[in-house]
Point group: C2
Chain length 429, copies 2
């Protein structure tokens, strides 16, 4: 049986949604890699009694490991160390060596903020250097040390790994936590799982559901597969967790390939972004976008190394910008409208020419909530992807969703059109 | 005492971080508006026993209301209705009227996906029309009905509101849930709270911590304030929850204003994005960006109505693009480097001229992970904001963080510089 883990995310700002939790997803991936099963994530405010209740829940549910994030800062509402120490029955004590380490980190920062009082810094310093007796302290990546806290001698329950909230610090400190004896002890019995992911674009989730019903009838051992499907940014993801020697996974994989070959675009976990990156192979690409307002450029430049092929982009929000920066004929805009297949292609032509690019992608549409007409309602979007030799793929559809969704998903459609163009394929009907 | 609520988010794709939960934050805001205290959010996979454990936890913690999101879809892993029905002791029964309603929604969709089998659609239809006896069914916004399920007669515990995962559907169905008698009964005793938010930019969180320590000594009734501070996209947010007639909140507000007047930029909850939008008052703005890759344009066009002032932007990722599209002198790039205060200003000049804008913002920097040098390491970013009359504000600093953080936060700095420029203020020292 594999070890089970839970994650407790603390922070009123996370509970109330003002800050998005980025640690849960990251820790989920790390646990999976280790063969540890993640069962529960809980989020609470900076209230000791709620945090204690969540730790108790994790223990009651038989978690072997609990990882907390957040609540290690200098302010009075940062209480995780205290709560975990009490929960595990290990009183806090000042770790003077750690106090000195933190002070060495804080000293240079004081120069930058010349108006800070040394007294208040010293007080925070001491608070952050309190370590539960018998626990392992992990050196800070920022200013807060982490902790690995097993239950006190003679008690049972999960080992609690206490990490700071800022993702960069949590990432940097995680390897030390995993390398500890305390962590190894708690996660013994982890088992070997593998996870595979298929990604499809251009079919509804219910079609996959139907295929899974067929698979259930046809494939022996289907019940040993843990399958989840979800819609994400307009794509359908199918994630399958299975034992390393499973025969049912290859059978399911083949069935999906057979039934959905034309929409199945990723069988190795790769994203369409990564595929487009690789397919470009350093050849320059340019973007012309209107309703997506820069999101396609931002998406193309998200991966490190994208400067090797992204020449740049124009956000031509106004008609003047379409004419001046992309050379779109104002008469064409007048005749067809700024949101039209014709203007989309003219924008792509402009991007190819102005940036001297080999490939271009153009988007123009009505993101709303205003600006829709009967002929071109909110959600109506036109795309054109084109290469310097004149090969072109174009599409125009009405997308569902609100302004944010329309803007975001219009970039997904563009990425898939680019992928088809780069592979020399037509668009599916 | 105010009513307390918990949120149970279901879905393996959310637990494992492949899909970000957007319902928790949205529901948190709605609960706050209703004067209902949110105490816990929990996330679980599509496993009935884990979901049941989380519902039990919410009941044990004395929640009056539990809201679930997700797990109402057509696939076999969508089990929320079943689990909640069992938990509340109310057996499921087919609601034929609801079955017919759903079928009327599905019928037109079948035309779009001509290859779907009617049988599989009908099966999903029936599954989604199962309603716990005595529960209220809420008409679907997509294809899945929602539920408001009180505990069975003679049992105690929270009323459970069951809503679908897609945010648009959940938003559309929420008002019907709140309007129900069952909801009102469970949330009786809600009390009147107010929440205020202050936003500061350009100071470390520890400075606010120090001010709160001073406040604790000076302000009577300070202990009745529920204060959380957090760092978000480079800004410090201070959120204070207090009774409507509190005297201590105005006293704290005055103290923060007195100590941090120069960095306190929002006292009414407004974001810097909204402030810049309003300060522009329809005057055209253009963007020239390099390392942020389109994110500043995307941010400026995020708010509805931004087409009233955003002329457009150039993402000049390559040096050629800087020269061709923004008219930056290649000799200047050669002499100073593409990442330099001089090139940032030339980019702003180019944006002003090419778009005929009244205001321009330019960003150029090293987002990493590669491309850093000793003089210009990863994280070194130059900004310039300028108006058509020649007033200019410029800054260059080395930012901490990874590629994603550097790209994102560089847009925050630009927004604050724009705000200063538009208010006729200098940058703080």
């Amino acid at each position: 049986m594999s070890a089970r883990a839970g994650i407790v995310v603390t922070g009123t700002e996370v509970l109330t949604g003002r800050v998005r939790d980025r640690n849960g997803p990251w820790l989920a991936d790390r646990l999976l890699e280790l063969g540890i099963e993640l069962a529960h994530i809980t989020i609470c405010a900076d209230r000791p009694e709620d945090m204690e209740a969540q730790l108790r829940f994790m223990a009651d549910q038989g978690m072997d490991l609990v990882i907390t994030s957040g609540g290690l800062g200098p302010t009075a509402d940062d209480l995780t160390g205290e709560v975990v120490a009490a929960f595990q029955g290990r009183p806090l004590a000042l770790d003077e060596e750690m106090e000195e380490k933190i002070w060495q980190i804080l000293k240079p920062l004081m120069k930058r903020w010349s108006h800070l009082s040394e007294e208040s810094i010293r007080a925070s310093n001491r608070k952050q250097a309190m370590v539960p007796e018998g626990a392992l302290a992990i050196d800070p990546a920022g200013t807060a040390p982490g902790l690995v806290v097993p239950p006190a001698e003679g008690r049972s329950g999960p080992t609690v790994v206490v990490l700071p909230g800022p993702p960069r610090e949590l990432h940097a400190m995680w390897p030390a936590a995993v390398a500890s004896e305390e962590f190894a002890g708690a996660s013994a019995g982890r088992s070997e799982y593998e996870q595979d992911m298929l990604r499809l674009f251009g079919i509804p989730e219910s079609e996959i559901a139907e295929t899974l019903r067929v698979a259930e009838e046809q494939i022996a051992g289907f019940e040993d597969l843990e399958i989840t499907t979800c819609l994400r940014r307009g794509e359908v993801e199918v994630v399958v967790r299975h034992g390393a020697a499973s025969d049912s996974w290859p059978a399911l994989h083949a069935l999906i390939r057979e039934r959905h070959g034309n929409t199945l675009f990723s069988e190795d976990g790769s994203t369409v972004d990564r595929q487009v990156f690789d397919l470009l192979g350093g050849r320059p690409i340019a973007v012309a976008e209107s309703c997506s307002g820069g999101l396609l450029s931002a998406r193309l430049t998200e991966l490190p190394g994208s400067s090797g092929h992204v020449a740049g982009g124009v956000v031509s929000y106004s008609n003047t910008a379409k004419a001046e920066l992309l050379g779109v004929d104002p008469a064409l805009i007048e005749a067809e409208g700024a949101v039209s297949p014709e203007v989309a292609e003219a924008m792509a032509d402009g991007a190819l020419a102005r940036f001297g690019a080999d490939f271009a992608a153009a988007i123009t549409g009505v993101a709303g909530p205003d600006g829709g007409t009967e002929a071109k309602p909110v959600g109506y979007v036109c795309w054109c992807v084109k290469d310097a030799s004149g090969t072109v793929l174009a599409r125009d559809i009405r997308m569902p969703g609100d302004r944010t969704e329309i803007r975001d998903r219009s970039t997904t459609v563009a990425m898939h059109m680019l992928r088809r163009l780069l592979r020399g394929e037509d668009l599916p009907v």
